[in-house]
């Protein structure tokens, strides 16, 4: 499951446009994978690593 899918599972009401505006998921093509580069969603808190790992 990708980071995007985990976040969508945690917050199902997130819309795709949120990932173009208030949330930035990023991958620098350096082998380190996807990560949260920016999270400024007004309603949902940035998930912790533990929350993501639990999905």
């Amino acid at each position: 499951m990708t980071l995007f899918e985990k976040i969508k599972a945690l917050y199902p009401s997130l819309e795709d446009k949120d990932f173009m505006t208030v949330i930035t998921l990023q991958n620098d093509s350096d082998g380190k994978g996807d990560y949260i580069a920016r999270w400024s969603h007004p309603e949902f808190a940035q998930p912790t690593q533990a929350e993501l790992d639990a999905i």
Partner: protein, 178 residues
């Protein structure tokens, strides 16, 4: 001495003026004969993706990799990153071709990144039923000639999107010194 004047054989002259500031300045002419364009130290490069396609995660801004250099006049392009060693303003152009592995995508976009952060947005498509699309970005970007670098990132929202090995290129050229 603040200037050197070179007179022509008949009329007219060329004046080389030193800047009214302290310090030494060097003008290096390129090794060329005939009409000399003083652009030997103005970096320019062009690269494109030709080998494998690049899988990217849906809705995730991913650095696009480019495996073929068409030209790189100052050896400033490496690891899909342009780090010009001459301070100035650079015209950046890129086109990224993407498609989902199945079905259709709903978003596609590209961005010019500077020093690891989004700097200028390119095309941003928000329409349904995207099968394959090329998105472009163009901007004038200042680089300090030492630490500043430029990369291209892309995003598609769809099923296992990928960046294609055709129609995907990245170019930059200095247009004015700092």
């Amino acid at each position: 001495m603040s200037s050197v004047v070179i007179s022509g054989d008949t009329s007219g002259s060329i004046t080389l003026s030193a800047p009214a500031v302290a310090g030494s300045n060097t003008i290096t002419l390129p090794a060329a004969t005939g009409t000399v364009m003083v652009s030997g130290n103005m970096p320019a490069f062009s690269a494109y993706k030709s080998g494998s396609t690049q899988s990217i995660t849906s809705s995730t801004w991913t650095k696009v990799t480019f495996d073929v250099e068409e030209y790189d006049t100052n050896n400033n392009f490496s690891s899909s990153r342009f780090t010009p060693t001459v301070a100035g303003y650079y015209q950046v152009n890129a086109s990224i071709d993407m498609l989902p592995s199945s079905g259709t995508a709903t978003r596609a976009s590209t961005r010019i990144y500077q020093n690891g952060s989004a700097y200028k947005n390119g095309t941003e498509l928000q329409i349904s039923n995207i099968t394959e699309v090329g998105v472009i970005a163009s901007a004038l970007v200042y680089c300090n000639g030492s630490t500043d670098y430029i990369e291209m990132y892309a995003l598609m929202t769809g099923t296992t999107p990928s960046v294609q090995n055709y129609g995907t290129y990245f170019q930059a050229s200095m247009v004015r010194a700092a």
